[in-house]
């Protein structure tokens, strides 16, 4: 691929690497309490909560920075922040 003349960058996940390394706490979803309201998907600034085909939510731990917004906002208390081992 020829080098572009101008600094032009192409979109990709992990532009600064696997930001999951930044975490001190990780969100854990309790499936028994989750009602799939998708608010955690809405509020995650990283887009690290993935909305599946059937509107389920899965945490992408490669990139989740552990901010805890999802746990704080979940109306069912279905997400807890667990210290990384």
């Amino acid at each position: 691929m020829s080098r572009p003349l101008v600094p032009i960058s192409t979109p990709c996940e992990g532009a600064v690497g696997k930001t999951g390394f930044w975490r001190t706490f990780r969100p854990v979803i309790d499936r028994s309490r989750c009602v799939r309201c998708l608010l955690c998907w809405l509020y995650c600034p990283e887009g690290a909560i993935v909305r599946t085909e059937d509107d389920d939510v899965v945490v992408n731990y490669d990139y989740c920075k552990g901010c805890g917004i999802c746990a704080n906002e979940c109306p069912r208390g279905a997400i807890s922040m667990v210290r990384e081992g």
Binding site: R3, L5, V6, P7, I8, S9, T10, P11
Partner: protein, 397 residues
């Protein structure tokens, strides 16, 4: 079919711009460039030019708007002078770094304080490090021609650098002389169809321009500007030749040579006063002096090769600067000296004509004769001085 018109330099530029069909023009007033953008406004409002005309609120915004427009694939134009050019300096760097083929006319004007609306070349030369190709006209015809050539050069796939075309305040901008205008067909044939490539327009394959580049990447982008400048030298020469085929006018590429054949001394300078230098030189040949003029049409890329070839074997090279780099010497003097350092030729520099101080053929005669007399008396050292400073005003001892 070409036609002749009597036009002030600014109007010659405006007509050239009209013929080049830019899509987007940014306009902000500053003396003595204003009549360029006013004339273009008339063209646009009378629908003689189909362009978007953005009446920006500052020169910094003028260049920013053109960066946006050019990045989106438009052909663009603006004009400025002096303080306006200085104000947009940050954006001038950005345009070159983003490799956008913007064309700008600069009606060269002295810098504040104190206020001066008259010509010198400080504003133009203050842009020399930015990556722009920088040209300067001697007369209104060349100002017209250079604008058209500028688009050709800028948009060349091997160049893709913005071009600024300088013309002296009032001496050219507001002085009417006959100018041969090209026809629309001739200019359409001479310029490439404006590329519609733009890195901004593809929403399916989006890209980002200009995000952070760490030290292991940044330098190469700057090197590529340098490579483009190298290629530009050849493109400039080729375009000048092709322009001759179209119009019969050819200026000599990066440097115009006047009566240098057999000359002992060559006067190097740029701008409208080259006309006075040529007049002086004509008189001097009659008196037995053998002096030629090398007029820099382009100061970026700097014509090192041409100057080395031209100045080899001469007794002296006289560089007359209409600008000064304080704490050093005239800008052109420094650059010419550097280009000629391998040659053992005397290089004498004169800073003259700042703030529109008049410099005529008789002044060039004084400078040339001073150098001749120094050479006769064995003083062959290179050096620079200021010409025509009124010592009684500055209270020099």
């Amino acid at each position: 079919m070409a036609r002749l018109a009597v036009l002030a330099g600014n109007y010659a530029v405006a007509h050239a711009v009209k013929l080049c069909r830019p899509h987007v023009i940014a306009a902000y007033p500053i003396t003595p460039q204003t009549s360029i953008v006013e004339k273009i406004a008339e063209f646009v409002e009378r629908r003689e030019l189909d362009a978007k005309y953005i009446r920006v609120e500052s020169e910094h915004s003028a260049m920013a708007a053109l960066i946006g427009a050019s990045a989106a694939g438009a052909r663009t134009f603006t004009a400025t002078s002096s303080q306006g050019l200085l104000y947009m300096h940050e954006a001038v760097w950005a345009a070159a770094g983003a490799r956008l083929p913007i064309v700008m006319a600069v009606v060269t004007r002295a810098i504040f304080p104190p206020w001066s609306i008259w010509t010198d070349h400080s504003d133009l030369l203050a842009q020399r490090d930015t990556g722009w190709i920088i040209a300067m006209a001697e007369d209104n015809q060349e100002a017209f021609d250079l604008v058209i050539q500028a688009y050709r050069i800028a948009e060349d796939e091997g160049v893709l650098l913005p071009v600024m075309v300088g013309l002296d305040a009032f001496l050219l901008s507001h002085t009417a002389t006959p100018v041969e205008l090209l026809s629309q067909e001739e200019v359409d044939g001479f310029l490439p169809p404006r590329r519609s490539f733009s890195f901004l327009l593809d929403v399916e394959r989006p890209v980002t321009m200009g995000n952070v580049a760490f030290p292991d990447h940044y330098m190469e982008f700057r090197y590529m500007i340098e490579e483009a400048m190298r290629r530009a030298r050849e493109v400039i020469r080729r375009v000048d030749e092709e322009y001759r085929e179209l119009t019969g006018r050819c200026y000599g590429g990066l440097v115009e040579r006047y009566r240098c054949g057999g000359a002992d001394v060559v006067v190097v300078l740029m701008g409208a006063w080259a006309g006075d230098a040529k007049e002086c030189v004509d008189r001097l040949w009659e008196e037995g002096y053998r002096v030629g003029v090398a007029r820099l049409r382009f100061v970026r890329p700097f014509p090192c090769e041409e100057l080395r070839e031209l100045c080899a074997g001469r007794r002296a090279v006289i560089v007359v600067d209409r600008s000064a780099s304080f704490g050093s010497a005239g800008v052109l003097f420094t650059e010419v000296s550097s280009a000629l350092q391998q040659l053992s030729v005397t290089v004498r520099g004169f800073v003259a004509g700042l703030g529109g101080r008049d410099v005529g053929a008789e002044d060039f005669e004084v400078m040339v004769k001073r150098v001749y007399s120094d050479l006769e008396e064995g003083r062959t050292e290179s050096g620079a001085e200021w010409y025509g400073v009124r010592k009684e005003v500055v209270g020099c001892r």
